[in-house]
């Protein structure tokens, strides 16, 4: 339940919902398991015409929001993606599109046009494997060499890495972070599909072995990308948490109707207090999840000074209670809840997947404490 949407937002939500219902109903989703790419490129391109990849992009690059608040618009789309466990590179393409758009100028006009129109996919190569698997750890290096940049390192859980035409690589230069846009097929770049728990979302390992890109591939200033990386993380978390809430809403609906329809010992499951009380807890988690995801989207949209904390608050809450709500729903469904035939697992997968990417509950709790400390000491210095 969302309150206070504008007419244009209602339209965006309505057209997206109808398109997803018509194009990728759950029987289609189940079949996507067998597609290596996880979605039909035509499906993505047609969806892009609804604005899916344009909301965070400046108008001069062919983008534009529907309400003047592009990230909140996108969160509404992500919510619908969650409700339908929809396929497609929504999160990662939007993160890359926003990053390129923010550079400004014409440098990235071509890739932006392709991303916004849905003819190409962009992905963010951010996370790294153990022993650098912690949230925000970057060991991949970007070294200036002549007029070029040379990248060396390993990236994992790169969303739709094997389908992407453009990889936004976050690397380290000395003590600072550097971001480079690497076209797929660049020599020294090896993309290997990974196994994943989702039926349609795909991930890849990206190995960078002295991959060489020209100076024009650099976003912003070398060694000074940390604020932009933080911004990308916030955007990713807003999309991710909105999508999780959509999936949880659907799981809750499925559970409520199951409890009403199923009879045991001559009465509906919904009449047992032991189960009613569990559903009440689920409702509490669900409403709180809505509240936190919305608050995070608003804070990031408005560049609030607490935006960094709020996205982590939303993620740490959702990463804890989202999977819990889903698993409790599976338990209430009994055996049918763990079959491939039932829809429940489509949402369970999406929620569990998201709980572990871009930071676990634990990592975000630790991040919150560090952010609070930084702000506290910054304030003391000011005073």
């Amino acid at each position: 339940m969302k309150v206070g949407l504008t007419a244009d937002q209602e339209l965006l939500v309505g057209t997206t919902r109808k398109y997803l219902q018509d194009t990728v109903p759950s029987d289609v989703l189940r079949q996507l398991r067998d597609r290596p790419d996880g979605y039909d490129p035509d499906y993505w391109a047609a969806g892009a015409e609804l604005g899916w990849a344009a909301l965070l992009v400046a108008e001069e690059h062919g983008g534009g929001s529907v309400s003047g608040q592009g990230l909140r618009d996108l969160a509404l789309v992500a919510y619908e993606f969650g409700r339908h466990a929809s396929p497609g590179p929504l999160l990662t393409t939007n993160v890359v599109a926003e990053a390129l758009s923010r550079v400004g100028g014409d440098t990235y006009a071509q890739p932006l046009e392709e991303l916004v129109s849905g003819t190409a996919v962009g992905t963010w190569a951010y996370a790294e494997p153990t022993p650098h698997g912690g949230l925000g750890e970057v060991a991949t290096t970007a070294v200036a060499d002549g007029g070029d940049w040379v990248l060396t390192g390993e990236k994992v859980a790169v969303e739709h890495g094997a389908q992407a035409a453009y990889l936004l690589v976050t690397a380290r230069t000395g003590d600072g972070l550097t971001q480079l846009l690497v076209p797929a097929g660049t020599p020294g770049v090896t993309v290997t599909p990974q196994k994943t728990i989702d039926v349609s979302r795909r991930f890849a390992r990206v190995s960078l072995r002295e991959a060489r890109v020209p100076a024009s591939a650099l976003l912003g200033a070398a060694g000074a990308a940390a604020p932009e990386v933080e911004r990308q993380l916030r955007t990713a978390l807003v999309i991710q948490t909105a999508e999780m809430v959509g999936a949880l809403d659907r799981v809750f609906e499925l559970t409520m109707s199951w409890l009403s329809d199923r009879y045991s010992f001559g009465r509906p499951l919904a009449s047992y207090q032991a189960l009613k009380h569990r559903v009440a807890d689920q409702k509490m988690w669900l409403e709180t999840s809505h509240a936190l995801a919305d608050a995070a989207a608003l804070a990031v949209q408005e560049d609030d000074e607490r935006a960094g904390e709020l996205v982590s608050v939303a993620k740490s809450y959702l990463a804890q209670y989202g999977p819990e709500l889903c698993q409790d729903s599976v338990q209430l469904h009994g055996g049918i809840g763990v079959t491939y035939e039932h829809d429940l697992h489509l949402y369970l997968r999406r929620v569990v997947l998201s709980s572990a990417l871009f930071g676990t509950a634990r990592e975000h709790r630790l991040r919150i404490t560090s952010l609070l400390e930084s702000r506290n000491s910054a304030r003391k210095v000011q005073a």
Binding site: K283, S316, T369, L372, E373
Partner: protein, 431 residues
């Protein structure tokens, strides 16, 4: 009523800020909240100070922000009330005047009182002259509010009340009780109730203070013996008290975010504090625990902060839903459940941070010794104001429409309903 130009939120905020800074005391680090233990004479002094501050607010156009002007309030909006909470944060304000006095007591009078009753009592409440408490729970019925057994029998223009009420906060220093009583035993329990206004300090009411496990004696039990109440002090219709009580309980469940009361945003963090205050308190604890480098402790601080923000944002959402007409009043039960569950977990985290200091500390160490006592009282947040079990019933039945629990007292004259011989209050009761 003609359309009146009301003060804008920003004008109001500026006015409130200037007045608060000029007239109220900032709360120091030694400030102890309303529930802190203190000798009776100190408690009475605090009550007197709260009444004085309330009068000051009234005299300066800052009392009862959302109550209508004709009853001594300011006739402003929730947004004004929230701005006021933010501005008064960090300053001493009349805590004892807020809950349950301003809400649910004054809000019930506002909703159901006659014009005469409202004109008489509400301005006095706004001025701090009358402090109201709830005569709601009974020794034999806590969660089962409609099972009230205090009887009210008609006698000419009066009613005669007999029975006992319990869990009344601060009845020993309060003035009036809003009392739920049974006026008809021959109809089902919800249809034989009536609400009365009762002056607390009179010969026919005996007040007994209950000692809680921390030594606090703020909760009271009252024994009513032939208490005479004029019919003009009845709120709502005869035998129609459940209509009043339904709203009464709704106001009680949503007290943490009611615009009718002033809220402490910071401090102990149980009421969904402003983000900044919550963070300061948590970082102080982390620092004092000596575990600032312990990842387990740091993780718990992150979780505690998450819960505090979660409680606050949930309240904001529930109000937006109620305001938009998309959610029922019963959604307040979701906030009530979260308050109990969230505060409980929060208390556990803080207690664990305290470690051994929370159970055995130097006499002058209030920070950590309080954590131990507060942990002992952890479940209060899940009991007071309606238990979390009742909240779960309401969420599943009223919000989600699941089948109602089997009740053996429905559609049965109340005098035929079975109850425990002892009234259900004896701890040594055997089955």
């Amino acid at each position: 009523m003609s359309v009146e130009e009301i003060e804008s939120v920003e004008q109001f905020r500026a006015r409130a800020r200037a007045w608060i800074r000029a007239n109220l005391q900032p709360i120091g680090s030694d400030h102890r909240g309303r529930m802190a233990l203190r000798p009776d004479d100190e408690e009475l002094a605090e009550v007197a100070e709260d009444r004085r501050l309330q009068r000051l607010l009234y005299d300066n156009g800052l009392a009862g922000i959302c109550f209508p002007k004709e009853y001594g309030g300011q006739g402003l909006t929730r947004a004004h009330a929230e701005a006021f909470d933010e501005e008064i944060d960090g300053y001493r304000f009349p805590e004892r005047v807020q809950v349950p006095n301003m809400t649910p007591c004054a809000t019930v009078i506002l909703e159901f009182g006659t014009e005469e009753q409202k004109l008489l009592h509400l301005p006095r409440i706004m001025r701090g002259e009358e402090l109201w408490m709830q005569f709601l729970s009974e020794p034999g019925s806590g969660s089962d509010v409609a099972g009230a057994k205090v009887s009210a029998v008609r006698d000419g223009d009066d009613w005669i009340l007999n029975g006992s009420k319990i869990w009344t906060t601060g009845a020993w220093w309060s003035d009036w009780g809003l009392c739920l009583a049974r006026t008809n035993w021959d109809v089902p329990k919800h249809r034989g109730l009536t609400v009365f206004m009762v002056p607390i300090h009179q010969d026919n009411i005996e007040i007994s203070r209950i000692e809680m496990l921390d030594g606090s004696k703020e909760f009271c039990q009252e024994f009513l013996t032939d208490v005479r109440v004029p019919d003009t002090d009845r709120i709502g219709g005869i035998d129609d008290g459940w209509t009043v009580t339904t709203r009464w309980l709704m106001h009680e469940r949503s007290f943490t975010s009611s615009p009718y009361a002033v809220h402490a945003l910071g401090g102990d963090g149980e009421l969904g504090p402003a983000a900044g205050e919550a963070a300061d308190h948590l970082l102080t604890l982390l620092d004092r625990s000596g575990r600032a480098d312990d990842p387990a402790a740091r993780e718990q601080i992150g979780e505690a902060y998450t819960l505090q923000i979660a409680m606050r944002e949930l309240n904001t959402r529930l109000h937006a839903l109620a305001g938009s007409g998309k959610g029922s009043d019963q959604l307040a039960s979701v906030g009530r459940l979260m308050h109990g569950v969230g505060a409980g977990r929060l208390m556990t985290i803080l207690f664990e941070l305290g470690g051994q200091d929370a159970v055995a500390s130097d006499a002058d160490d209030e920070l950590f010794s309080n954590l131990g006592t507060r942990f002992l009282l952890r479940q209060v947040a899940s009991i007071g104001g309606g238990t979390t079990e009742i909240a779960r019933n309401l969420i599943s039945e009223r919000v989600l429409g699941m089948p109602r629990e089997l009740a053996l007292d429905r559609n049965v004259p109340y005098r035929e309903v079975r109850s425990a011989p002892s009234g259900g209050s004896s701890a040594s009761r055997r089955s």
